[in-house]
């Protein structure tokens, strides 16, 4: 007996229960025309993931119930496996429903509720404890939800209860280690249980998280027989015979880490603007690497016609910057507008008079210039309805090398979780696809150009050293001594950087959202106090 199974890798929208149900119905229809017997959707497909405190709204569950009732009708001649929140007796479950022949054949509640990193599942859900095995179409399917697969017990429990294959539904946020980690975990479970595994992952951006697709199938011989494309929706088919799986898809070439990170940023930006109904994007272009890469990503994401570069020169903007940014504008063929910040800056100096330091290189002066840019950019954003993208990177966000309401002003921070050294790698990667960032922008020394002859490295350690410190401290949680060993920086420099990280917490609290691509992004993944006496 041969069973055809469709893996539905879909971009669900948090809270849009009816829209998600329609997407599910559409995929079921497609799978039916392909003569599939079973179609599998991702974790919390019906609500989108994560619904956060929407799960506490009383009106949430009647809408879920109504959508499920509709979907039940579609399961007359095709089985539907999907994730949905489910409420019973004041408890909420992160559940898997197995719909078949117009009935709810089985229900499973997630056992392992992640409550670390970006996850708050114990805030919402009651864990399940029973395995769920469904015998249909000659298969004995052990059903699991996401985190369940990252521990040995739930799969072992399913095996003990008679499972002969595993189906896991997932909503797993991307970081640059995640794709390979998922494959490794699947192999581990396969080796422990001997069972083949279907891993259906969602795709789509939700505020700071992006779900990357790349659904997986391992067969009984522990071979990876299917790796669905990343950052793309689609239905992917396998057939099952005697509780083993055979792919019906062509093999795709492996992708580099750079290409996946770039794609996470591009796709994350696109999906954020779409889900929040923006008509296009604005980027303040400075002639530096951060705004150059941000602009390239924006054009790749939204289409060059939807993007506008805004050039905001000051007395400190070098000819080189103006020349390089003009070159990039030409390379991309993007619309652009130039507005001088000088008249407004002059007016501010006049109004502030002797309330302001006379040393024009002082921080208040630098901030003033950055904020005039912010106010001009936001005026254009308000007037056009285009979202303003901020251009700061993770290294700057970490140490507070950014001006609140200045260069931090904007609706989305494309490079928020990208270290400066990675900004360079991604710029080079982008140029390998087609030349859009003038080489000299990549080669020149970073400068904010807010004071004469200013270089970032005057006030910060060189970025390669800074980034090693930041990664060791923020992501790996290492001690001072360990960081000294991996960064080759002095303890004094490391201490200074750590202090800067803590002091900048108040700025980060007021920063725009941006896509997480590392293992510990600022935001809900890293919860530090503003007021603290630890450092």
């Amino acid at each position: 007996m041969t069973t055809k199974i469709a893996l539905a890798q879909v971009n669900f929208f948090v809270g849009d229960i009816e829209g998600n149900a329609q997407k599910i119905a559409h995929c079921v229809e497609q799978a039916r025309t392909q003569k599939a017997h079973i179609v599998v959707f991702s974790e919390l497909a019906l609500s989108g993931y994560p619904p956060e405190d929407l799960l506490f709204r009383p009106s949430f569950y009647p809408r879920i119930q109504a959508a499920l009732a509709q979907l039940l009708l579609l399961s007359q001649d095709i089985d539907i496996i999907l994730g949905t929140p489910y409420s019973e007796d004041t408890h909420i479950y992160n559940a898997l429903f197995y719909l078949s022949e117009g009935k709810l054949l089985a229900r499973y509640a997630k056992h392992r509720l992640p409550n670390y990193g970006v996850f708050d599942e114990k805030r919402y859900f009651t864990p399940g404890h029973q395995p769920c095995i469904v015998h249909r179409h000659g298969l004995s399917m052990g059903l699991l939800i996401c985190e369940d697969l990252w521990f040995a017990e739930p799969a072992a429990q399913a095996l003990a209860a008679g499972a002969q294959c595993l189906i896991s539904i997932n909503a797993s946020p991307y970081d640059h280690h995640k794709p390979e980690q998922r494959v490794a975990i699947l192999h581990q479970r396969q080796q422990e249980t001997g069972l083949p595994i279907i891993y259906v992952q969602s795709v789509g951006a939700q505020d700071e998280c992006v779900f990357d697709g790349g659904s997986l199938v391992l067969n009984k011989q522990d071979k990876l027989i299917l790796e669905a494309p990343y950052f793309e929706e689609g239905l992917f088919y396998i057939k099952a015979e005697k509780n083993d799986f055979i792919s019906l898809e062509k093999k795709r070439p492996a992708r580099s880490k750079e290409s996946l990170i770039y794609e996470a940023l591009r796709f994350g930006l696109l999906d954020y603007t779409q889900k929040n109904h923006f008509k296009g994007a604005l980027v303040g272009l400075s002639g530096g690497i951060d705004s150059a890469l941000t602009l390239a990503i924006a054009c790749d994401a939204l289409g060059v016609d939807q993007v506008e570069a805004i050039v905001l020169p000051s007395r400190y903007t070098s000819d080189e910057s103006m020349h390089l940014l003009s070159e990039q504008i030409k390379l991309l063929g993007v619309k652009h507008t130039t507005l001088s910040i000088e008249p407004t800056y002059e007016a501010l100096l006049h109004t502030l008079g002797d309330h302001l330091s006379t040393d024009m290189t002082d921080l208040p002066h630098q901030n003033l210039q950055a904020r005039v840019r912010g106010i001009l950019l936001m005026a254009l954003s308000n007037q056009t309805g285009k979202i303003l993208l901020t251009t700061g990177n993770k290294s700057e966000m970490a140490v507070g090398y950014a001006t609140l309401y200045g260069d931090m002003a904007g609706g989305f921070a494309v490079l928020k979780d990208v270290y400066k050294t990675w900004v360079y790698r991604l710029a080079r990667y982008r140029n390998e696809q087609s030349y859009v960032i003038p080489e000299k922008i990549i080669l020149r020394a970073p400068t904010a150009e807010l004071a004469p002859n200013q270089k970032d490295e005057d006030s910060l350690p060189p970025y390669d050293i800074l980034d090693r410190i930041l990664e060791a401290y923020i992501e790996e949680g290492r001690s001072l001594e360990e960081i000294a060993a991996v960064s080759f920086a002095s303890e004094q420099d490391i201490k200074r950087v750590i202090k800067m990280i803590y002091r900048a917490e108040y700025k980060r609290r007021q920063s725009a959202p941006g896509i997480k691509i590392t293992t510990r992004a600022f935001g809900k993944e890293r919860r530090y106090p503003i007021s603290q006496g630890f450092v």
Copy 2:
């Protein structure tokens, strides 16, 4: 046998382990001079509450251990009960330590870990399961930590294990219902167990939460014999005889809800500025009620000499506003500076030219004016090192009636969690103490004065109706039908307000912190997606 017990109500500082240990040592010394036998500190006294992800830093626990070793030495002739994080075998516990005769006599791990509202304790801690009874000084003390007391089981378990009195250590964030709720819960536990209860609560502000003190003692007859002052540090004494308690403190008069809320805001602001080393505060004064109340609170918190009012008139600022704000400046005797926003606004109009709508009453124009104010205020803040206070209230924050980087610019949002109708109540309360807010400011119709003859109620429902809708939706989680019943607003108006709440989420993400005083504050207590299709 009579035992004297000191309740130490102390302002601990998150992360400042050595500083907190010194404060504890100082209190122990004081209690010793008062011949106390036992001194009781609050939950996580040594680390401050909540330490958040500092709990994951490897260098955290050696510092905790070193501090505990010092405190052990102080327990030779006086028993010390205190809360501290404790790490063992990769687990972290929210623990209570009982130090006596230079030794660790007992250790208790919190059973009930709150993971709702502002709390994330399951992110960090492993729960305990065993009761902890200490027999010392003729007492049989059942020891509990905060949330434990909000459920029946832990106290019942302690009773069953031989407790004849209960001591609970707490770090309980204030909201305007909390003081009476705590008393009610203590009575409930007393009635279930028949045991007298000591409830030691911390005091101090930590970012958006304020801990209000008001430690409590119930005797065996279920009588509230001690209610320590709110928002004040201190040692408060009782004596214990035959496992019952007798207060050694005078009774204090009951406080009104208004006085406690006002004090929460005043104290919360003061503590935030102190813990973050600000030298003073700036308030942009408009002649409206929000900035008037913010200025009054700032002067009460920091002292009038540390505060400066900044007046930023525009073409739309009425004579009445100028007159009223001058009157308040005189009443308070506060320093002030007046800077016109017109020259900068003009320069921006000139620079933006035909990129901007010609209708000067359009939103982009209103935002520009608000942002010129923001940039001027931030320049003064940067130059002086004084924190800029934002003046927006919760009703505005809820519906997005505020300008990002404009009136939302600043380091602390004093009224962030205060509904507009409560702004009025607090202004009247403040004037009852001494007249500092001109009566006409309280009586006039609210206006942003960003366009000619603008009134808030042109674009928003009247605030009394708006606030009823907001409270029902945000705090009580009510459905549309229920809100219609309690607010007397039309379903159409309610729907419009709900939509505004969702649409403004992106603004709130970039807002300054402010003290929580309601049962559901924006921020970590209310976790909603920016991108959502629910409404």
